[in-house]
Symmetry: C2
Subunit: 656 residues, 2 copies
């Protein structure tokens, strides 16, 4: 036992070998004279900055500096230290590799490389995709005045500011009126879903990272702080109270930090992330900012090391351009259904409701030039890179009014004597097309087979746009992807239709058909099992791991994430939501089965994944091990996927 | 070339070595003097019964009889023959094993055994489950006067009589008024579903055995004749016309035979099936009826040969009693949700809408004695045989009003100023519990975990009823089955709850817990993949092949059977509906994977199947090969399953 409380020549302190917040080199820590270890933490007196020790006890200070160097050389990492000085004699109490912020993780890793302590492969292992993702969020201004209200669990990252509301309808109403709101609840349940969508962020006083609010917010990419237990939330009185009695009423502004769980009173200014600016293509940042320089250096190494390519899920030329600056090496999923919304919805409604082939063809003919425009913009943006376009996937009735809403409208109109025949017919059609379980109904390739001419129109747009852009001298590499295939016969039928369209004069360049590939999504367990048959036709497989998770487990994300998932996470039935991180035992085995069986038949079968798992760190490692060629994810997840793909390659020793 | 048209000492004929209709021994066929082969078929003159030939040309007749014996000894089966007599000399044109009715198949097979031509194993291979199923339907009285209107495709077996209606709403309206109707359409589409349910049978003028009408009718077990192309169906004029100009108007009665495709004018009397009466336990039939005797003999052989046990899917004591007469060797699936309907629905509604644990417990306490009664009746009926009881499976909102209907009701009431607060609250609850894809939502074991006390109440009823019945000296073997398990953690949680309940004093017999097993449905692809883990807890697996088909293929039977299935069958994407006959490549592989992996961990793991595939002939053969212990099906399919299980065992050479 040593004592730091034997007089003013004694004391105790904590030290970091580098700044655990920014990663900067230097001396960081606190020192308290005439005190024992716990006194530093207890805050009984104000501590001194560690640099003061040099003045108070130079010998001990110099010795401490020497020890810190020794420790760093031994651990080859930032260390934190607890020490005591007993009457001028320095004693080390403990040391360990120190916790650090995401920013420090990157800068320290690069410093250690420069100091010759680790190599770049090791530096890459010292950072994570989760840390990189945190660095890409806007954050509260570090230098702003802030009044901390409380700290809860960092349930879903980001920085959100808004007027407090206590129920979902109010959130929806005020958000519609243009106001930014924060939904505050003791805990959330499925009734709060609309409010969560409307709000900038969610704050709860109960539940942790696996609570309903946390799970749903992460699923939406919405900032959330959960389990701020000091807060008393009184929904009826429309106010919350903290343990010190401070009150916040409906309409008062709070700021919540989903990255560290802090909740501030009032509006805290938000600053953009320099790391995000770097990924968005701002130049010169790496020269002026240590963090950006470190991120840049590690990303370059990850890119050189990784075997997995990284593509983007994007549906417009604009998104593709953004994605390229983020490092996308192709489009892994272009969802054509998004192109059927907005003004074109009416054309689609006509198509869906068409009773004759003639009506159907007119609607298709009107859609064709619009689809050609869509693909033209994407090809130009992705010049020289492959573009995977998925033929129409969702159930057709998604383009029609909701059955319940329309039924109510018709019933009310009938009651008022204002019912038109047109409305009544529309209801009859909507009822006819209604499905009990649309996720398990007439969608994907089934739609392509059931609606004559639909896929042909889309393929026509894909190949004609490609021919036109190729004629401009732009290299185009379209990959036509057929969704929801369960049996090879479905793919055969569509492939035959594609072959006919590709041979049409308007689709040719210099008399030859445009270079293209035909492939399929693997998103049904059966498709994975019969992959050998499917690979006879398909030139590529793209795993739709979201749908594959839904069918393998038999639950739909929309329905279950907001119902029993938090129970399952809290009781430990799930370690992590299988929609966040791939379920390697179940869904993963199907991915492996399909990969093996497919490649046995077609050795150069291209394998990719285009579910949101493509941007999840753990899942990326799995896809690397499974031998996939690429992952595809939303634009903002691309840097994370690149980093983790590099980490997976260096960790497994098969860096590119 | 020989000529039968060289005078009255020449002629041509067809002959059967036995009656192809009844199977009776004797001389059956037609003879036509001074004619060539096609004249017999063309019907240019009336043919003579073959027996007349003995009188006309005894030498040829005797020779023909000798040849028929030779042929039967060679082929060891009923043969059909074409022959010609040219100026008194008999020439054989061709022979082959003759087509026959289902009844003849059974009687002939037994005759051949008696004649020493084949053994009983071979006799078993000479009949099929499909033939047996046909014999179990009531049929039109053979001796009744019948006026044939036309013949279409035998799309779904049975005999149906009813007043003709031409649209679904009329079918529903008249059926509700107590009238028996036949729905007549050119072809059906999903709009006709309600009408098909309401009608006795369905008749269409278009499409074949794979048309919408045929597929849906077979799915419902409803009699159907499809593609009666001679009929002109005029829905607007509400009449149909045949090629001879005969008209049938709405309300006129027709009789349709789904087993042979015949359509008769007016009401043809229907006679009960003696084979059905035999299976229902009528005694003395086998002594008086050749057909029943043959069926009895072949069934006994099948039962002795088969390795697969046959259980029943039944939910009441009454059904269990019926099923035992059909040969059920246990209950493979008792669906407790059926017990929650009728008068008890209100209790379940209270349970679903309960906001406090107290309300919930009251509802559960009210259900407990009712569930105990249910199980008591079943145990008594199944004395000495295992009874597999599935804990509650369907989504809870199935016990609540339909969202669309209720929304309309509330909107209309509001419009009229008659809206009650109660109704409005009910709508809010229904909306909260509504799921986009209930098949993929909060159901099965998820429900058991999400609704505290629900499964405990059911297990309490299972074990208390078992304890009480066991105390009466009746042997009870309850098997508690947990539905929709995707991960072993779910089963662990429920198994722990079961263990607690089983140990309650009221569940004990002589201080010991009732003998029981705990097992699970395998109905999710993931459950099949992680079967080794699940088998650590489960003592039995029961494959729910209907749900497993739905998730493996990603389509729900209700939604797709009436939408794109007929397209798929007609274009050959499907050979047969995977809901009718097990998809052995996809779903079947999962059954095999689960069986292997499960038995590797637990060698005596009991394996069964309780989907409707358990009564499908082809599927039964697959389940035999996969090494399952039993199949379970609806009561009326039990004889088919027994027969096919015997056929599978003798065909594969591993008869029991």
């Amino acid at each position: 036992m040593v004592f730091g409380n034997l007089g003013m020549d004694s004391g105790t302190g904590v030290a970091f070998t580098r700044d655990p917040s920014s990663g900067a080199r230097g001396v960081y820590g606190d020192y308290l004279q005439n005190a024992q270890g716990e006194d530093v933490v207890a805050g009984i007196r104000n501590t001194l900055a560690l640099t003061e020790l040099e003045r108070l006890d130079k010998a001990s200070y110099d010795q401490l500096m020497d020890i810190m160097t020794t420790l760093e050389n031994h651990y080859r990492d930032l260390c934190d230290i607890e020490f005591t000085i007993e009457r001028g004699k320095l004693w080390m109490l403990q040391t360990r590799v120190g916790k650090r912020t995401a920013a420090a993780a990157f800068t320290v890793a690069c410093q250690l490389v420069d100091e010759g302590l680790i190599d770049m492969d090791e530096a890459l292992q010292r950072v994570t995709g989760a840390q990189l993702a945190n660095l890409m969020f806007p954050r509260f201004d570090r230098d702003a005045e802030k009044e901390l209200l409380t700290t809860g669990m960092n349930a879903s990252p980001g920085a959100a500011v808004g007027a407090v509301v206590f129920d979902s309808p109010t959130a929806v109403r005020r958000a519609k009126a243009g106001e930014k709101v924060l939904l505050v609840r003791r805990e959330t349940n499925p009734d709060d879903l609309d409010g969560m969508i409307a709000a900038e962020g969610v704050l709860t006083s109960r539940g942790g990272r696996t609570s309903h609010a946390a799970v749903v917010a992460r699923g939406m990419g919405k900032t959330a702080v959960c389990g701020a237990e000091e807060l008393e939330v009184d929904v009826k009185a429309r106010k919350l109270t903290d343990s010190r009695g401070r009150e916040v009423s409906e309409g008062d502004v709070l700021s919540i930090d989903g990255t560290n769980g802090e909740v501030y009173l009032g509006e805290v200014p938000v600053v953009a992330s320099p790391v995000m600016a770097y990924f968005e293509g701002s130049t010169g940042l790496a020269e002026n900012d240590d963090l950006v320089a470190a991120v840049d250096r590690i990303m370059r190494h990850a890119d050189a090391a990784r075997r997995l390519r990284v593509r983007v899920n994007a549906d417009t030329g604009e998104d593709c351009t953004t994605a390229r600056t983020f490092g996308a090496e192709g489009v892994g999923l272009c969802r054509t259904e998004h192109m059927f919304l907005g003004e074109r919805r009416e054309l689609v409604e006509t198509l869906v409701l068409a009773e004759t082939q003639d009506e159907r063809e007119k609607a298709l003919a009107a859609l064709l030039p619009l689809q050609i425009e869509d693909f033209t913009a994407i090809y130009r943006a992705m010049e020289g890179l492959p573009v995977t376009i998925r033929l129409l996937d969702p159930p057709l009735h998604e383009f029609l009014p909701d059955l319940t809403d329309l039924s109510v409208e018709v019933a009310v109109a009938r009651e008022r004597g204002e019912l038109t025949e047109e409305k009544e017919e529309l209801l009859a059609s909507v009822r006819r097309l209604h499905e009990e379980n649309p996720m398990l109904g007439l969608r994907g390739v089934r739609l392509g087979i059931a609606v004559p001419g639909l896929y042909a129109m889309q393929v026509r747009a894909i190949t004609r746009a490609a021919a036109a852009v190729a004629a401009e001298g732009v290299a185009v590499l379209p990959e036509i992807m057929v969704p929801l295939v369960g049996t090879v016969q479905e793919l055969q039928a569509v492939a035959a239709e594609i072959a006919d369209v590709v041979a049409e004069p308007e689709s040719l360049v210099d008399g030859r058909s445009v270079e293209h590939q035909i492939g399929t999504m693997i998103e049904l367990p059966r498709a994975a099992l019969v992959a050998a048959q499917i690979a006879e036709i398909a030139q590529f497989f793209s795993f739709g791991t979201n749908d594959l998770t839904q069918t393998t487990w038999g639950f739909s994300r929309d329905d279950v994430e907001s119902s029993f998932f938090s129970d399952y996470l809290e009781t430990g039935i799930f370690g992590v939501s299988p929609f966040e991180s791939l379920d390697t035992e179940g869904v993963g085995e199907l991915v492996e089965i399909a990969s093996w069986r497919g490649r046995e038949v077609r050795h150069d079968l291209k394998l990719g994944i285009c579910g949101e798992h493509g941007g999840d760190p753990d899942s990326v490692h799995f896809f690397h091990r499974a031998g996939l060629d690429y992952v595809s994810c939303s634009p903002f997840r691309i840097p994370v996927a690149r980093l983790e793909a590099g980490r997976a390659a260096t960790a497994s020793g098969d860096a590119g």
